[in-house]
């Protein structure tokens, strides 16, 4: 394996400790990356994978140790070599896709038409359709990813880093992405990607590196590692994460009463395009209604309308049988409804505020005297009850993504809401957190909470939902619970509209 001429990148005892928080993100990591291979980096949330990738991409410089790029240490070389597709969207929202792609340290004028052609050629070649004129802030998560991918390919980067690329993709989209990665490998490029999902890693990676608590646990060819070993290295326990909690056969849900949530003939247009078309659904206590789809195919709009941010053009939203139009976030909350948004750092949490402050919106700290005292003691208890790794007075932005979601979910379930709207709950979660989250949702359902689950994740949809409907080009189709329909392939085709092609 160790053919020196093929080594494109070498890490030597790389250590990174963040000065502000004292967090040791990477500790003494040494590894080599070879030409034309696909290397998967695995680890739990907060294990230090992203930091490692930042170091490799030249975005950060390591505190100690060195990164050799083709034998040299020049960070500029590193940047020229590496193209990174970030997990968090890292684009300038006000710039168009084209402008975001060509943004770089180069100087002078640019010729839009020439560049556009060049980029279009790349898009053509790798089948990555994306309207170059869209503003970046209009893009959905998969489109953002695509935009960065196009840039890396256009720049002819030899080493591509993808930070959790499949987190926000549907199954079909993920499979397309993997095909592309394999093709790139075939063209001699090197790919590093971060993932939690063992099955996809086993499918495409050549080698697998596992990181836990900032330390490299092991790196080896795929064939030499079993899923069980990987999982043990990742979480340090010898337990394989359980298979998805099987959708148990449940007794009939009582659907005779008043539905907790009823959408009737909901329609929505944006800039002349019909985004949602006569959506009808009813949701009853004690069931999880899964709504699958692709974000840009209306799922985002459903979320925005249900959380009160957007007003539909037609139709009604009834909560407990009462018309609550026009719905606002305030009205929604006043009705006791909980909401776990897809955009956690904007809608789900205030990153600049402390954990306690983020929990204070629960309004559970009645009593007299200093609110601060009550809040912090209550929040401290809450945090330890729910095993959130953090302190009450820690700023939320310093927590790992998984812990932020843990906090949000625990908070939203705390009040026993009649209805929970939850969107993409497991984005970016490792499988342990994901399992935990899923059982939390199932338990909430058992307690009689009605849950509307909006997700692009097919496995999640299938394993959690009592009923499933799929949003395709703004229309809603219910999936029958039959052998023929209740499976990932049928739903996947439905989601992408492939069944009608």
């Amino acid at each position: 394996m160790s053919d020196n001429s093929k080594i494109v990148l070498e890490l030597k005892n790389v250590t990174q400790i963040f000065a502000e928080s004292g967090v040791r993100a990477c500790h003494d990591i040494s590894m080599q990356v070879q030409g034309s291979e696909i290397l998967a980096v695995m680890g739990e949330n907060g294990a230090g994978k992203s930091t490692l990738m930042f170091l490799i991409s030249g975005f950060m410089e390591p505190g100690r140790g060195e990164i050799l790029c083709r034998g040299g240490k020049n960070p500029a070389d590193l940047r020229a070599l590496v193209g990174m597709v970030h997990q968090k969207p890292l684009l300038a929202g006000d710039l168009s896709v084209l402008e975001n792609i060509i943004l770089g340290p180069e100087k002078g004028l640019f010729r839009k038409d020439v560049l556009k052609e060049e980029i279009a050629a790349v898009q053509e070649r790798y089948n990555l359709p994306l309207d170059l004129h869209l503003k970046a802030k209009q893009l959905t998560a998969p489109q953002i990813q695509r935009c960065e991918l196009i840039r890396a390919l256009w720049k002819n980067k030899e080493l591509l880093i993808l930070d959790e690329p499949t987190a926000s993709l549907s199954t079909t989209q993920s499979e397309e992405l993997f095909e592309l990665l394999l093709r790139l490998k075939g063209e001699g490029k090197t790919v590093i990607f971060i993932s939690h999902k063992i099955h996809e890693v086993m499918k495409v990676a050549d080698r697998i590196a596992v990181i836990r608590r900032g330390e490299l646990q092991g790196i080896d060819a795929k064939g030499n590692l079993s899923p069980r070993e990987i999982s043990r290295l990742m979480i340090g326990e010898d337990t394989l994460p359980g298979e998805e909690p099987a959708a148990e056969k449940r007794g009939e849900i009582d659907r005779t009463g008043v539905p907790v949530l009823e959408l009737s003939n909901l329609g929505y247009s944006e800039t002349g395009t019909r985004r949602l078309d006569s959506i009808n659904l009813s949701l009853y206590p004690g069931e999880i209604l899964g709504m699958g789809g692709i974000r840009e195919n209306g799922l985002t709009h459903v979320e925005d309308i249900l959380c009160g941010l957007e007003q539909p053009d037609t139709g009604f939203i009834l909560l407990n049988g009462k018309n609550r139009m026009p719905l606002t976030p305030l009205k929604l909350r006043r009705s006791g409804i909980s909401y776990i948004p897809a955009d956690r750092l904007k809608r789900g949490a205030a990153p600049e505020s402390t954990l306690a402050e983020n929990l204070s919106v629960l309004k559970r700290q009645a009593g007299f005297g200093s609110y601060r005292k009550r809040l912090f003691s209550w929040a401290g208890q809450f945090i330890s009850d729910h095993a959130i790794k953090g302190e009450a007075k820690q700023k939320v932005k310093t927590l790992s993504g998984g812990n932020i979601q843990k906090m949000i979910v625990a908070r939203e379930l705390e009040n026993n809401p009649p209805l929970l709207i939850v969107s993409e709950p497991s984005w970016g979660l490792d499988f342990k957190s994901r399992d935990r989250l899923h059982s939390q949702l199932v338990q909430a359902r058992e307690e009689g909470i009605a849950i509307l689950l909006l997700t692009t994740d097919l496995d999640e949809l299938l394993s959690l939902s009592d009923r499933i409907c799929v949003l395709t080009e703004g229309r809603l189709t219910e999936i029958e619970r039959t052998e023929e329909q209740w499976n990932r392939y049928y739903i996947g085709e439905k989601m992408t509209g492939a069944d009608r092609a």
Partner: protein, 284 residues
């Protein structure tokens, strides 16, 4: 009338364009006011000494850039709060101009050198008017047709993006502050050379109005220019109204502000759709 409005809008446009650069780079440039005043002063001093338009304008730019360097010193080198640093410059500059003019011209605050009036006029039109519009066009081209423009436009929004692409956002910011000093320099020159005289305090709040114009114009070049013109139009109207309206003149002085306010409100009502961005501080 049109020429009059463009004429009085010119210093505003120039200052606002400079402010727009820093604004897009993510810095609220409170110091515009001081920069304009310092440049107006330098333009008249050097213009009066040499009689040369070019040298006067160069001196004005120099003064603006000097103030910008001071702003950079306070904001970046000393890591100060840009707002307070800006206020500091606005306090400092008028005092410095008086001290300098005292040592140069004795006790004179007003400087009216011979042969300076009309120096910036060619064929009846102030050259700063086409210059301001030209610069606006140029800036628009820079913003949308050059790589630097992309960097500037993304700097205030996504510093991490720039870092990821190998660009240091802080040096971009510093650079933009200097450019805003340059633009304010032109604004000051347009102000004082247009009249052929320097009067202490003659910037008279133009830096602040320019800042307002930046926001009113939604931080876009055409919008900012339009906002400056709108304000000048309102002021022109108010000036004229003093002649025929039976309303007390002092009261009319408030009209431009209220008209601009009304325009701002109407734009906002029209524009408002989904508001989901976080507020957050702009100052610190």
């Amino acid at each position: 009338m049109i020429l009059a409005i463009f004429g009085s809008a010119t210093p505003l446009i120039l200052a606002a364009l400079g402010g727009l650069l820093t604004e897009r780079a993510g810095i609220l440039n409170i110091a515009l006011e001081g920069m304009i005043l310092g440049s107006a002063f330098a333009a008249v001093i050097v213009g009066g000494m040499t009689g040369s338009l070019a040298l006067a304008v160069l001196a004005a730019i120099g003064a603006g850039v000097l103030a910008a360097l001071l702003f950079n010193l306070g904001t970046f080198t000393l890591k100060g709060n840009p707002f307070i640093t800006g206020l500091g410059i606005n306090v400092l500059v008028p005092a410095l101009t008086v001290s300098i003019s005292q040592s140069l011209y004795g006790n004179q605050g007003i400087i009216r050198p011979d042969g300076l009036s009309g120096i910036s006029r060619i064929g009846g039109m102030d050259i700063f008017i086409p210059l301001a519009l030209l610069l606006a066009v140029l800036l628009q081209i820079i913003f949308f047709r050059t790589r630097k423009g992309l960097i500037i436009r993304s700097c205030g929004e996504q510093e991490d993006l720039l870092r990821a692409r190998g660009i240091n956002p802080v040096s971009i910011k510093k650079e933009m502050v200097i450019y805003s000093g340059l633009f304010s320099g032109l604004a000051g020159a347009a102000l004082s050379l247009g009249l052929g005289v320097y009067v202490p305090g003659m910037s008279a709040g133009k830096g602040w109005i320019a800042l307002v114009a930046i926001y009113l114009g939604y931080r876009k070049v055409p919008g900012v220019v339009a906002a400056c013109l709108l304000f000048s139009l309102a002021e022109w109207g108010a000036n004229r109204a003093q002649g025929f309206l039976g309303v007390p003149p002092t009261l009319i002085l408030s009209f431009p502000y209220f008209m601009t306010m009304a325009a701002l409100w109407l734009f906002s009502v029209k524009k408002r759709k989904k508001v989901d961005c976080s507020g957050g501080f702009r100052v610190n």
